[in-house]
Amino acid sequence: MATLVQAVRLALHYGEEHLGVTDVFGEDVGPPLGGVFTATQGLRTAWNSPLDERGILGTAMGIAYAGGRPVCEIQFCDYAFNVIDVMKVAGNQRWASAGGYPMPIVVMTPTGAGIRGSLYHSHSFESWASRLPGWKVVLPSNPLDAYGLTIAAVKDPNPVMLLLPKALMRVKGDQLLPGEPADPDELSRMIDAPVGADRAGWKPRWPAMREYVVPIGSANLAREGDTATVVSYGRTLPLCVQAADELARDRGYTFDVVDLRSIFPYDWDLISRSVEKTGRLLVVNEDTEVTNFAEHLLRRVVDEHFYDLLVRPRTLMGDHLPGIGMNQVYETNSVPQAPHIRDAMRELAAEAA
């Protein structure tokens, strides 16, 4: 099975060959490296940019004005803060021009903690991104969704931010991508560049991938249950699934685990139906907790489902701290880990109505 980062690469290859992608670019995105996580290795249109995030997004906008279909990368979302006003401009171009100029660009950037990244490689970005009207923001938690959301991002004629969970980049999926060879070693031999001097003349052998779209704004019900609803995405999603399985086995609690997949637009219909059913809600993410996107979801649940709730709705988020420290005691005690999630889900399920 492909890893998440291989899935993104295969989707971008599909985009180059079938969907009109003209440029895949950013820092170290072209040869020889093909991206620090290898998401762009071997791509025909990949090229290296100056180390200049504002130039990257601005140039992507210019390419789009002139009819191109660019995909650009900010190497880590931690480096995107100096470009946030350009993101705002990209999001408003169609509105500001009353339909004069669409802005079909994709910005992809790794997000979140979990790779021992210290202060500047552990940030989350979805709460910031959710405050950029005009954008669509997606965040897969497994390779198949990464493949389908990347293709959707390329096909959508609006600015789409593809947030990729750093901690899950190397995690293999449990389903084959459409067109992926069944043997994962064979896939690696085909599309992963050799390390070292052998790379100079290397070319990928692309499998014949097929189109697969995860519609933007559609969540996935990763687990179905009746006791409570858990909404999450990205790195914390598999931890929620794991906790749901353990609590079902050990305590008999069953959960709707909603993998949101799209931050905006989000799948309100699925969340709404689930909360109506269970009356109990927990939203889990790892972004810092003040003015966190989870708070918006909670606000809507309180506004629209107050009388459906059996217990107080709640969140589990990262601490409001200036950073995540290198020693693991900092990370494990400031962003949600498996035990925190399991405890929060157990308390949600057990609280007397």
């Binding site: 003209t22 440029d23 940019s49 100056p50 200049d52 504002r54 130039g55 997004l57 601005g58 140039t59 992507a60 906008m61 210019g62 390419i63 789009a64 004005y65 002139a66 009819g67 191109g68 660019p70 006003d85 350009v86 401009v89 171009q93 169609r94 509105w95 500001a96 021009s97 009353a98 339909g99 004069g100 100029y101 669409p102 079909p104 009207p133 005009g134 669509k136 293709i151 959707a152 096909k155 959508d156 004629p157 609006n158 779209v213 519609p215 933007i216 704004g217 559609s218 799209s262 905006f264 637009p265 989000y266 799948d267 309100w268 219909d269 709404s272 809507r300």
Partner: protein, 372 residues
């Protein structure tokens, strides 16, 4: 020399510059130093400068009368802007020039042939405003059919975008170039250096004409108090970009400066940095009163004097041009302000383009997900 741009609408006074009194002898040239313009071209430039000034002065009046909330523009930059607008290769797509402008470029647009009416529609926040449907500040133009991308108030971001359109143009071939315009204060932003850097990647040099209009102020701050006292054009040196500084108040000098820059970009497919020294006759915007600053030289008055001295026009001709321009601006205001305003139903329109892969917004934005 390319065919000059002109108004889209048939000219009510018959195309070329209107002259009363004596006619111009054939072959008369207007001179500045070693450079000359034909009298006919000089009068075309002059007429567009007069129109631009009349439009700006009428716009300031609107901001003071309450018909508009805010004015910002370019009185004092008419020579530079008109000479640019007249020389643009106008059209849609990478075969033609892309324009990444800032908010002092009314003269560029009038030079390209935009009507005064379309300027006033934006200033008056009308639904008919073709640039932004009454959403944006005045002078924040957007005309897709002429490759004029949306003007943004955020200083200098257009310099980060210009390499993108130029990259597509270089691949496309032909002579289309990208023109990006900003003030000297904006060059403090890193986006200015982004443009210098991205247009000079070895083997990937890009045809971008960077035009910096230097009026020596950023809002209220004197350039000399925050920047080294060197020409902005010197910033091109470490990048190996050809650059010039010209007198932006002298239409003859700035016409030729722009022509040299454009020729360089069109033929060599490389960047060029042109700094034009201009006036700021009415301050930064209506927020600082928009009063006439008597210390600022007036390029229109200077050019008028030159044309009169050289016999290219007479006093009656000047008066007629100014009267016509003022009447045109007044008529544009009357027409625009009688047009409809946006409605509440317009607020969300044009947020999103139609998407076949979006489960929530297959069409435009409709409010928060799941709420109708």
């Amino acid at each position: 020399m390319p065919e000059l741009n002109g108004e889209d609408e048939p000219d009510p006074i018959g195309g070329g510059p209107r002259r009363r009194g004596r006619t111009i002898p054939p072959g008369v040239a207007v001179r500045s130093g070693r450079e000359t313009l034909s009298a006919e071209l000089a009068l075309t430039i002059f007429r567009q400068m007069v129109r631009t000034r009349a439009l700006e002065e009428r716009s300031i009046k609107m901001s003071k009368s309450g018909e508009a909330y805010f004015w910002i523009g370019g009185p004092g930059e008419e020579a530079t802007n008109v000479c640019l607008g007249l020389q643009v290769h106008k059209g849609q797509g990478p075969a033609y020039d892309y324009l990444h402008l800032h908010y002092r470029n009314a003269g560029v647009m009038l030079g390209m042939g935009m009507s005064m009416l379309d300027h006033v529609r934006q200033l008056g926040m009308r639904r008919t405003d073709p640039h932004s449907m009454g959403r944006n500040f005045v002078g924040h133009y957007c005309i897709p059919k002429w490759n004029v991308v949306p003007v943004t108030s955020v200083i200098e971001v257009q310099f980060a975008m210009a390499p993108g359109t130029a990259l597509v143009q270089k691949r496309f071939g032909g002579e289309g170039i990208t023109i990006v315009v900003g003030g000297e204060a904006g060059t403090a932003e890193g986006d200015f250096d982004s443009c210098l850097n991205w247009t000079t990647r070895p083997g990937n040099e890009l045809p971008v004409l960077m035009l910096v209009t230097n009026n020596r102020f950023g809002i209220s701050t004197d350039l000399r108090t925050v920047h080294v006292d060197r020409p902005v054009a010197d910033r091109a040196v470490p990048y190996g970009i050809r650059a010039e500084t010209v007198d932006g108040n002298d239409p003859i000098a700035v016409w030729h400066g722009i022509a040299r820059g454009m020729k360089h970009c069109r033929e060599l497919r490389r960047p060029f940095l042109l700094e034009t020294m201009v006036s700021r006759m009415h301050g930064h915007s209506s927020s600082s009163g928009a009063m006439r600053d008597p210390a600022e030289a007036d390029p229109l008055a200077l050019f008028e004097r030159k044309l009169l001295d050289d016999g290219a026009i007479d006093a009656d001709g000047v008066t007629a041009l100014k009267d016509d321009a003022k009447a045109e601006a007044d008529a544009a205001v009357v027409e625009a302000m009688a047009e409809a305003q946006p409605t509440p139903a317009d607020v969300r329109r044009f947020t999103y383009a139609d998407s076949e892969v979006d489960a929530v917004y297959p069409g435009d934005y409709t409010g928060l997900p799941g709420r109708r």
